[in-house]
């Protein structure tokens, strides 16, 4: 069954091609059928593959499918090959399955668009899924980079989907440019790898790295840093996180699929896939952990102040990916992948739930103008609460608890871990619980401030239910030692990624239990704080906000710790200024001159095309003289 692997990315691409070519002429129904159907098939095949992979794992938990050799020219012969191992299996499962649910949801969510736009939406979405699958299945760097750029492109296209509003275009451009900074770094890193190892094959590179590059050697550190740059850009981590909140300009399903569940985790995937390089560069590992910790706290504070429900979720995404980076930084590879999976479930759920609310309230995104939605949309409310509970990591019953707990535990006890990172993570968990409960209370409780506009139909509700179930039971495949010790997921992942070594020997059931209790208390405490501040006594916050210091703190957090302002001042404004100054200056002259010269050449050459026979014969005679002269006299 594994031989079907190639169809997993091929089907979404096929869907894209069909929609792109014929989309303009299709009715909405057919467009949706193609878009959703292709992904559905792809997800089905993925499940079949997953079952057969788990039932009878291939040798070394690695299945390679070489589709064909692309070119074989002068010693350069990249193969188009797919690689399936536990990590990529988890990723393709999430991508196709969650992707399918989101596609299904979009069928109704996007119904207001006219048919061309509708087809365009599904075309982009399919292309995105195809590219993302290519990224995670790639066996060589070339293919990986292709997928990497492909998802970037789709992200650009989908953020700017409603391109008639210039703000959306600006957001799309911002996302593209900011991630491009990271991409450039990553491209440099990949070039270093190719130059050093003379191959594009990931497997071979990873095998050679420890043999060729000693630990902490300059080359490996630089390469790791460059790859980290790419990961940071794509996964919206410090300092390149600024694009993600703006990316909420796209339709909500896009936010759910791209900016929460899949694409933004590409950075996590990259680091996990290239873990050998990072293990050779422990300094960089530390940096990864620190970036994760800082990001999760900073983004958490920003999330508390947002009034747009999607922005809350955006900052929460940044923060949760911060957890994954933290996990990567402490070498808890499987924990990072585990959290990725659970996060994909509950974040997609939250976005879709938020989307349902937005849809129902006629594109109202401001939480302060919502309220009382609980009674209007009970199903949405309950699923949203389940998702929120998972995000806030309420103990025992939510998936988020297990994944986050694993990360915190390993940060505390792992050999690369540190107490500082642990406490940062713990503090982050508190903030998470606070802003999560704030979001739920503001949106669903209180008195109704707006009225119901549309009612989500079953195609929107079914994905919510499925995701709610998954984000609850998803955690049970990895039960910690204290609760029956059932590390199914870790064992599976650790076939390919090393398990985190233990640190100073204070791990054990006792420590684990203690840490879990702390985490549980923190989560429940956070929810309680949220309950107090935003439901019971909202005036406390309001009063604080009125004070000057409160005001400035609020602003500071609301605008994402001023990163945009800093970048604007540091990069955009000076460049703008230089551009202004230079508008009619020297540098422009170069380009004008090139254009002018080219046009001049064109005119000069087209002067020779007189259309006159004799003149053409003259050309031949002239050529004859040149030829004979060269041959005889040189």
């Amino acid at each position: 069954m594994l031989e079907l692997l190639w169809m997993v990315p091929a089907l979404p691409f096929l869907g894209y091609i069909i929609l792109a070519l014929f989309g303009g002429r299709m009715t909405k129904g057919i467009s949706a059928a193609v878009g959703v159907g292709m992904l559905g098939l792809s997800a089905l095949i993925t499940i079949v593959i997953a079952i057969s992979f788990i039932a009878s794992p291939p040798e070394g938990y690695l299945f390679l499918q070489t589709l064909w050799k692309w070119v074989d020219v002068a010693g350069f012969s990249p193969a188009i090959a797919l690689r399936l191992d536990p990590v990529s299996l988890v990723f393709i499962f999430i991508i196709t399955f969650v992707g399918f649910l989101i596609h299904l949801y979009s069928v109704q969510y996007m119904e207001e668009e006219d048919s061309t736009w509708y087809a365009r939406f599904f075309a982009y979405m399919n292309l995105f899924v195809g590219a993302m699958l290519m990224l995670v299945l790639a066996d060589n760097l070339l293919l990986l980079y292709l997928g990497w750029e492909g998802v970037g492109l789709c992200s650009y296209l989908l953020i700017g989907y409603w391109y008639k509003d210039p703000a959306n275009g600006a957001a799309a451009r911002k996302a593209f440019i900011v991630t491009r900074v990271g991409d450039t770094a990553m491209a440099i890193g990949l070039f270093i790898l190719v130059m050093a190892f003379r191959t594009l094959n990931i497997q071979e590179i990873l095998r050679h790295v420890p043999l060729v590059w000693p630990v902490s050697s300059q080359a490996v550190v630089i390469t790791a840093l460059m790859l980290l740059g790419g990961a940071v850009g794509k996964s919206a981590q410090l300092p390149l996180q600024t694009w993600l909140p703006d990316a909420m300009a796209g339709p909500t399903p896009v936010s759910a699929l791209i900016h929460a569940a899949t694409m933004v985790t590409a950075g996590v995937y990259l680091i996990a896939r290239m873990h050998v390089i990072f293990l050779q560069a422990p300094e960089v590992m530390t940096i990864v952990g620190i970036i994760g910790a800082l990001t999760l706290i900073i983004a958490g504070f920003s999330a508390i102040t947002q009034f747009d429900i999607k922005k809350v979720l955006a900052y929460s995404t940044i923060s949760q990916i911060g957890y994954m980076f933290l996990a990567l930084g402490v070498g808890a590879w499987s924990a990072a992948v585990f959290h990725f999976m659970i996060h994909a479930f509950f974040k997609a759920l939250l976005f879709l739930g938020a989307g349902a609310v937005i849809y129902a309230l006629h594109h109202e995104q401001n939480m302060f103008k919502m309220g009382g939605v609980k009674n209007m949309l009970p199903l949405t409310f309950w699923t949203f609460v389940i998702g929120s509970a998972s995000l806030a990591a309420l103990p025992l019953v939510t998936g988020g608890f297990y994944s986050k707990d694993l990360i915190l535990y390993l940060a505390f006890t792992g050999e690369h871990g540190s107490k500082l990172l642990y406490f940062a993570g713990l503090f982050g968990a508190l903030i998470t619980a606070v802003y999560t409960s704030r979001m739920v209370f503001l949106t669903f409780y209180g008195h109704e401030k707006t009225h119901l506009h549309n009612r989500p139909g079953p195609v929107m509700e079914v994905p919510l239910i499925i995701l709610a179930v998954l984000s609850t039971i998803g955690g049970f495949i990895e039960l910690p030692g204290t609760l029956g010790h059932f590390p199914l997921f870790s064992n599976f992942i650790q076939n390919i990624l090393p398990s985190p070594g233990s640190g100073e020997g204070h791990e054990g059931i006792g420590t684990e239990l203690m840490l879990q209790i702390v985490a549980a208390v923190v989560a429940i405490g956070g929810v309680f704080i949220g309950y107090l501040l935003y439901y019971k006594k909202p005036e406390t916050v309001q009063n604080f906000k009125q004070t000057p210091s409160g005001q400035s703190l609020y602003k500071f957090w609301l605008y994402g710790w001023g990163f945009d302002w800093v970048y604007d001042t540091l990069f955009v404004k000076p460049i703008d200024w230089i551009a202004q100054v230079n508008k009619s200056d020297v540098i422009d002259l170069i380009y004008t001159a090139i254009a002018w010269l080219t046009r001049g050449f064109n005119r000069m050459f087209s002067f020779t095309q007189t259309g006159r026979l004799r003149w053409y014969a003259m050309g031949i005679a002239f050529g004859a003289i040149v030829a004979i002269t060269i041959v005889v006299f040189l």
Binding site: L21, W70, F601, L613, G619, I620, V626, V632
Partner: protein
């Protein structure tokens, strides 16, 4: 001549036999459909016979033809391209000329000429093949007698081709005078034994003029845009592909067999020609508004690229150039095929304004055209990219840095005008002022110039070409291997360029 020798000539016999049969057929019963199907049958039979004769190869038909796998590959390319042209021509001619049937005879003989060229091993077959091709082309180019441009183009081509043939013959005579033989292999022997002298070299140089003329290399290129524009669109496709494939196949064989890479001055000559072609073609295409002319100029540039790899010498050069030629033929047939199927009754769809908003009227055709242009521009996942990549790696392997850098610069320039066509195609029609002035001087409203519908045959050809384009771009491995095997009969004779020569050339 042995029976097997005769047998190995079967494809050529079939081509010429069918030409004669067609002639008789027309004399007895003049019918466009019937002639067309006979033509197709002729090409099919000839192509099919390629598989049968492979068993008896390689074979030297004393002394003028050499039939080996290399020749077979070129024959296959030429016959397939000619069949495509025949299919494209069918609907085109149906609307245009009252006497359509002779065209197919000429197409047959022209194909025969091109095939003869690619298996020539002697000046006589060189010359005769070239002339069969040229003489057929004179008429094909001016076939639409009612069109001024067609006649003008035919006359220009005729005079210039005849003059360049005179140069070729004179050069051959000089080579013959100094070596005493007209056989490629024996010329090579004589050169090795007696060394080269100025007379032989100037003979080669004179021959280069005719080669450059047929391949439209600068500065012998000036006829190209006029002929491409004036000729009926399918004939343009033929001139751009078959005629060039035949000539290039011949010249590559000739150059390898006489081991021309020994002579630095010839290589310098080709370096100059190649660089001049790249720049000329691309600069001329930049501001052009006639699509046929743009494609003509771009073909000049493409042959310039081709010669960059040709210069590299050795096995890699043969493989790279042949592969590039395959990609180029697919793409050129595609682009001119689109011009053909879109052409209306009174004029060809050649003005760039004719293509405005094509995507919104004919999304499929526009998509195919986009793919073809992307391939010409060398965008990845198309045949053109792999071809260019192959060229560059061949050239870099021989340290030809100067031509490679110029190739890269020119590729960048060329993207401009390819994109220009693409952009125009995707413009909305409602963004257009209703009446626009076209290069043919008429005030035309956009759109109605076009054929109302794409013919079945034309559509089929385009579909096959598009598939081939993407197939070659995405799965080039098999095709590269196939070409490597097929040209091995020639590449085993090729010697890599001497290192000292490289240094002398491009220090």
């Amino acid at each position: 001549m042995t029976t097997e020798g005769l047998f190995s000539l079967l494809p050529l016999f079939l081509l010429s036999g069918f030409a004669v049969i067609l002639m008789l057929l027309i004399a007895i019963y003049r019918d466009h459909n019937l002639t067309f199907w006979f033509t197709l049958a002729g090409f099919t039979a000839s192509f099919a016979s390629l598989f049968f004769i492979q068993a008896v190869l390689p074979r030297q038909i004393v002394p003028i033809l050499i039939i080996d796998n290399y020749a077979l590959l070129y024959w296959g390319m030429i016959i397939l391209a000619s069949s495509a042209v025949a299919v494209l021509s069918y609907n085109y001619l149906k609307e245009h000329e009252e006497q359509k049937e002779e065209y197919y005879i000429l197409l047959m003989t022209a194909t025969l000429g091109a095939c003869t060229m690619s298996s020539a091993s002697h000046f006589i077959s060189f010359f005769l093949g070239l002339e069969i091709l040229s003489v057929s082309l004179y008429t094909m180019i001016s076939y639409l007698r009612d069109r001024l441009e067609s006649v003008e183009a035919g006359l220009k081509y005729l005079v210039l081709a005849a003059a360049s043939s005179a140069f070729l013959l004179f050069g051959m005579a000089l080579v013959y005078a100094s070596t005493g033989t007209m056989e490629f292999a024996r010329i090579s022997e004589s050169l090795s034994a007696n060394g080269v002298n100025a007379l032989t070299l100037s003979g080669f140089a004179m021959m280069v003029i005719a080669v450059g003329f047929k391949l439209a290399l600068a500065p012998f290129h000036m006829w190209t845009p006029d002929v491409y524009q004036g000729a009926p669109a399918p004939v343009t496709a033929f001139v751009a592909t078959v005629s060039k494939a035949g000539m290039f196949g011949l010249w590559l064989r000739f150059f390898v067999m006489i081991n021309g890479y020994r002579y630095g001055s010839l290589l310098i000559l080709f370096t100059v020609i190649s660089i001049a072609s790249m720049f000329t073609g691309n600069f001329l295409a930049l501001m052009q508004n006639n699509v046929k002319r743009i494609l003509a100029y771009s073909s000049i540039a493409h042959l310039g690229y081709l010669f960059v790899a040709f210069l590299a010498g050795g096995k890699l050069a043969i493989e790279a150039t042949t592969f590039y030629l395959v990609a180029y033929i697919i793409t050129s047939l595609g682009t001119f095929g689109i011009v053909t199927v879109l052409s209306g009754k009174m004029r060809d769809a050649e003005d760039i304004e004719d293509y405005r908003g094509l995507y919104w009227r004919r999304p499929l055709v526009a998509t195919v055209f986009t793919a073809m242009l992307m391939s010409l521009a060398g965008i990845p996942l198309t045949a053109g990219f792999i071809g260019k990549f192959y060229l560059v790696s061949a050239a870099v392997n021989s340290w030809l840095w100067l031509p490679v850098i110029i190739l890269v610069i020119n590729s960048a320039i060329s993207v401009y005008y390819y994109l220009r066509i693409i952009v125009v195609m995707y413009r909305r029609i409602d963004e257009v002022t209703p009446a626009v002035e076209t290069t043919t001087g008429t005030l035309a409203t956009v759109g109605p110039v076009m054929q109302p519908s794409i013919s079945l045959g034309g559509g089929l050809v385009l579909a096959v070409l598009t598939l081939a384009l993407i197939w070659v771009g995405v799965f080039p491995g098999n095709i590269i291997q196939f070409i490597k095997d097929m040209v091995s009969s020639l590449s085993s004779a090729a010697m890599p360029m001497h290192t000292a020569q490289k240094i002398m050339l491009f220090r």
